[in-house]
């Protein structure tokens, strides 16, 4: 095992009693690493992830009034009429009124105007699974598999964090790297080394239960199975103790620093807790909140007026929470550090059912939010095509579900690369493949202030374009460089990698071949800087 900079601390030993034999006193039992010293986690960026579990009805969130006739046909009883929807002119978008009305600071329309909100339409994966649990597992594990029965025991963030903690559990982070608010630790944060985060409901309760639990017996130095399991539990005792104190202290230091008013909604209240922890100096990198099941709107999802009922209430909850939190972060002066996104395991059927509700569907949508300095605000994707399958094969699928446009892992890659400095190798270690980032964020790191967006900037030439399949990629390297070059399909999934390694300076001209018609993205990452160009293959 590689040893890095350790912070040796014996602070938690105050729990041990004076009766300990003298040889144990003052001995260093464990190693703690400050979060900012963990390789790759040097920055102070924070990601907020909000799960809208149950299957959010995307078509009644961002209203498809670009095809009003068809929308009203699909949803005669539960539609949001044009006169109620909130129009965002710049993008010709129509938002559910509850994303704006009753939400402080102008709601999601104002966030769009100020460049703090992005909307991704048609996020999902091939062959959607319509079981809540299975589809959720795919989203949380970050693994796409045609094999519906593969069991998952690790999540995408759990794997990512675990890879950055090579000495865990001998060496543990000073503050929890990730935190789930409420419930039991979710699959997303699980890894083969154990949970890569903690679940928190109430800082005071956690403190009362966890404070003082560092084992007064030393960790084992051997590597037998017994030693390994002993040390695993030992680390959890230490973490319960250290983290319960760190969380409690941060909470108490931060709760008085809040500057915005938070609404009484569940999400708002949970984000208020998170804002207190951030304001109080907790160095947690990822916060996760799961909104439970109320998005599963099979029956009576809205009352007669479209703005009250189960689904509209949840939308108010989401918009208020995000707007309250982002306003607070701005007033407190740390809005540039935070960015986040929502997700839902699937969307809902395009046509309503007989119970004023909608059944499980596909083609979900999500929101991303952050400071305008780093978020690439706007609308991603095509407006959904609502045509019946028999009329337009590119419309709804045979089951009446929306098509997906983007592979869901692309959003994760945005956050891993731009917020946590992940390399292409790390992305591959997490997902088993790479994905083209969605492009929602600009890079934010401590050392390198880079705000590259995904453009080519004439770095490489691609010709001919369009192509019949055979084409050339040419570029010049001014010095020895680390190059990762891959082609992605239109959903953002990896088609093939054509370069991965260190290249000497000079001119390169590579012949490439793609056999199937379609649009692709050619992507070259040089020393961490990404260049992308779209190419059409037409035979």
């Amino acid at each position: 095992m590689k040893r890095r900079n350790f912070l040796h601390t014996t602070a938690a030993l105050s729990a041990a009693t004076a009766l300990m034999p003298s040889f144990l006193k003052g001995k260093t039992f464990f190693d703690v690493i400050p979060n900012e010293k963990i390789a790759g986690f040097e920055g102070d960026s924070i990601t907020i992830i909000i799960e809208m579990f149950g299957g959010n009805d995307g078509l009644n969130t961002i209203i498809p009034l670009h095809d009003e006739k068809r929308y009203l046909e699909l949803r005669p009883n539960i539609n949001v009429p044009k006169e109620l929807a909130k129009n965002f002119n710049n993008l010709d978008l129509f938002l559910h009124p509850n994303l704006v009305d009753g939400v402080q600071n102008g709601g999601f329309i104002k966030m769009l105007q100020e460049g703090k909100l992005a909307i991704v339409e048609g996020i999902g994966y091939e062959n959607p699974n319509l079981s809540h649990f299975r589809s959720e597992e795919l989203w949380l594990s970050g693994i796409n598999t045609a094999n519906d029965k593969q069991s998952f025991y690790e999540g995408w963030l759990g794997r990512f964090i675990a890879n950055r903690l090579p000495n865990y559990p001998i060496e543990i982070p000073e503050h929890p790297i990730a935190m789930q608010i409420g419930g039991q630790i979710n699959l997303m944060l699980k890894s083969n080394k154990g949970d890569m985060g903690i679940a928190l409901s109430d800082p005071t309760e956690f403190y009362n239960l966890g404070n003082g639990l560092t084992p007064i017996v030393p960790a084992k130095t051997g590597t037998t199975n017994f030693d390994n399991e002993f040390n695993f539990v030992h680390a959890l005792g230490r973490q319960s103790d250290m983290y319960s104190q760190a969380v409690y202290n941060a909470y108490n230091a931060g709760k008085g620093k809040l500057k915005a008013t938070y609404s009484g909604g569940y999400l708002s209240q949970q984000l208020k807790l998170i804002a207190s922890l951030i304001a109080g100096g907790l160095k947690t990198k990822v916060y996760f909140i799961k909104l439970n099941t109320n998005f599963d709107t099979h029956v009576q999802q809205t009352n007669g007026d479209s703005t009250t009922g189960q689904h509209p209430a949840m939308l108010s909850n989401v918009a208020s929470g995000i707007c309250d939190f982002m306003l607070d972060s701005q007033l407190q002066g740390w809005s540039e550090r935070v960015a986040g996104f929502t997700f839902s395991e699937f969307g809902r059927r395009a046509y309503e059912n007989g119970s004023r509700g909608t059944d499980h569907g596909a083609g979900s949508m999500l929101f991303a939010f952050g400071d305008s300095k780093y978020l690439n605000s706007g609308f991603y994707g095509e407006k959904p095509n609502l045509a019946d399958f028999s009329v337009d094969p590119k419309g709804l699928d045979e089951n009446g579900n929306l098509r997906y446009q983007f592979q869901y892992q692309r959003v994760y890659v945005d956050f891993l690369e731009n917020w946590f400095n992940a390399t292409s190798d790390e992305i591959k270690a997490v997902f088993g493949t790479t994905y083209l980032p969605m492009g929602l964020l600009k890079k934010r790191t401590v050392d390198v202030e880079s705000t590259e967006t995904m453009t080519n900037n004439n770095f490489f030439k691609l010709y001919p374009n369009p192509t019949s399949g055979e084409f050339n990629v040419s570029f010049e390297l001014t010095k020895n460089s680390n190059v990762f070059a891959a082609i992605y399909d239109v959903s953002g999934s990896e088609h093939n990698v054509f370069l991965n390694g260190n290249l000497t300076g000079g001119n390169y001209n590579l012949p490439i071949s793609i056999t199937t018609n379609g649009n692709y993205f050619v992507n070259i990452v040089v020393n961490g800087k990404r260049y992308v160009t779209k190419i059409s293959v037409v035979k």
Binding site: H132, Y153, I198, L213, G432
Partner: protein, 515 residues
């Protein structure tokens, strides 16, 4: 590395061939007796320990396994027999009322089962039932909306108990016919026009042979053979044999020929479309084909599950020699679970020192085991086990509890300490001194401490830790090596408080979580 290789790395599966399956014939030391009771049951009482010390492993296992125990008499309570209407078909107010009753009965059922685990008379029976429940998972709350009636859960539990020592195929047959399984795995909704593939897939993937040993066509054809089975789950639905009994709806059964694993199950005439014939030729027929054609795979799959459950859950530590020989004996015995369990608990492999203390206690082992070692009864055990993330008959998904290291996290570790302290508080002077006097040479303070540690920890503590414990005991009891005997014989408050103090210290040592 391609995608397929990557997916394989997600569950590490190294093979470490080290040790053949040999019988361990040395009479049980105290240490080995405790080890056996910890793994084969939920943890020892000192009476149980003394009842098997000095016996050979074979004698002890034969005694503990409870071959003649088929379970307690049916309790007379609402949750055992009361049918309800299907809540999903009611208006909201009625639905909530029915669900309220179902939730309360579900809780009573779990309380009942957990109290069976706490029962001292059959130390291994309920551990085996729990092992089988964690393979043949059933979730009370199995979709965002649906609940399985608790009387069906009870009947499934009874089936597992009744067949826990039978051959695995007989168990498979009987669980397949359990109403809870029929409902949970959608057989209830399966019919000839639209066979539901859920159960056929899980039967092969999760319950018998594992993925990769069958084709999608096998699932489709097998599902056709399993159409027509129903259970009388709700008031207002047909119940030809009474509520909660399984029946056969011949009109829903697909009578055409099926080709399953390249074997043909012949088409039948309408007059042969009867419960008995379909059961015999199709359900049993499918199971016979599975066990005939995939016997080796089934034996390995199940033997591996038993090893992970009873020996070590870490998938990276599988011993291929031991596994292969165990699987082979299991298969050759006609898939006898008695053979499987006996071979494990009488093996040299099981009694190696490197096996002791490497398993993280499940919530059931943690709670029930502590109750047993202190001879107390903890009425909140269901609440505690739920909070520790093991809800009986409500695992997180059909793939069961993820187990192993997922049992302990920063949420459950502090709760384990909390619940342990609540349980220790239940031990009055009577229980503490009963425990103390059962320790050999308890009148020596050193021997007493070693004996106490032996009850609560799976491996001998380092001398330094033991010395620290001794200091705690001396300090709290205000006694020393020479005055200890008088103090403990006198059952003084100081001694009682000191022993409780030390046990509470134990709770925070990492190895207290291990078994």
């Amino acid at each position: 590395m391609d995608k397929r290789d990557f997916l394989k790395t997600l569950v590490v599966n190294h093979e470490n061939p080290t040790m053949p399956l040999n019988e361990f014939t040395t009479p049980l030391s105290r240490k080995n007796a405790i080890h056996l009771l910890r793994r084969m049951g939920f943890g020892p009482t000192l009476t149980e320990v003394s009842s098997i010390v000095g016996k050979t492993p074979a004698e002890a296992v034969n005694m503990l396994i409870g071959a003649n125990y088929f379970g307690p008499a049916d309790p007379t309570a609402d949750w055992v027999n009361t049918p309800e209407e299907n809540p999903l078909e009611q208006i909201q107010a009625i639905k909530s009322e029915i669900e309220g009753r179902l939730n309360s009965r579900y809780a009573q059922f779990v309380d009942w089962w957990a109290s069976q685990m706490r029962n001292d008379s059959n130390p291994a029976a309920e551990k085996f039932v729990l092992f089988l429940h964690s393979i043949w998972c059933i979730q009370y709350s199995y979709d965002t909306t649906a609940l399985i009636p608790p009387p069906l859960l009870y009947r499934n539990n009874k089936t597992l108990r009744k067949y826990r020592l039978s051959d695995y195929k007989t168990l498979a047959l009987n669980v397949s016919l359990d109403g809870a399984m029929i409902l949970f795995q959608s057989l209830y909704y399966s019919n000839k026009s639209k066979p539901n593939e859920n159960y056929m897939r899980e039967l092969m993937e999760l319950f018998t042979m594992g993925i990769g040993n069958y084709t999608e066509a096998d699932i489709r054809e097998g599902s056709r053979a399993l159409t027509g089975w129903r259970t009388a789950a709700y008031v207002g639905e047909p119940f030809p044999f009474g509520y909660f009994e399984t029946w056969f709806d011949s009109t829903a059964h697909d009578i055409g020929a099926k080709t399953f694993m390249k074997e043909t199950i012949a088409a039948r005439e309408e007059q042969d479309n009867t419960k008995d014939q379909v059961l015999e030729q199709e359900l049993k027929g499918i199971l016979n084909i599975m066990f005939d054609k995939r016997g080796t795979e089934i034996s390995k799959f199940i033997a591996n599950k038993a090893i992970r459950y009873f020996i070590y859950s870490n998938p990276a530590s599988d011993d291929s020699t031991f596994l292969n020989e165990l699987a082979s004996d299991f298969k050759n015995s006609g898939f006898s679970l008695t053979t499987l369990f006996t071979k494990i608990f009488t093996s040299e492999y099981f009694y190696q020192d490197i096996i002791k203390g490497i398993q993280i206690k499940t919530p059931a082992e943690f709670i029930i085991g502590l109750e047993k070692s202190l001879n107390v009864k903890y009425t909140s055990r269901r609440t505690a086990m739920n909070a520790l993330e093991q809800e009986l008959y409500n695992p997180p998904n059909v793939g069961s509890w993820k187990a192993y290291r997922t049992w302990v996290n920063t949420k459950t570790f502090p709760l384990r300490v909390k619940y342990a302290n609540e349980i220790i508080k239940l031990a009055t002077k009577t229980e503490i001194f009963d425990l103390a006097y059962a320790i050999p040479n308890y009148q020596s303070i050193n021997e007493f401490m070693l004996g106490l540690e032996e009850i609560f920890f799976p491996v001998t503590l380092p001398v330094e830790t033991s010395t620290m414990n001794l200091n705690f005991l001396k300090n709290e009891s205000k006694l020393d090596a020479t005055t200890w005997a008088a103090g403990i014989n006198g059952k003084t408050d100081d001694v009682y408080n000191a022993i409780v103090f030390v046990i509470k210290k134990f709770v925070q040592y990492p190895d207290f979580q291990l078994t």
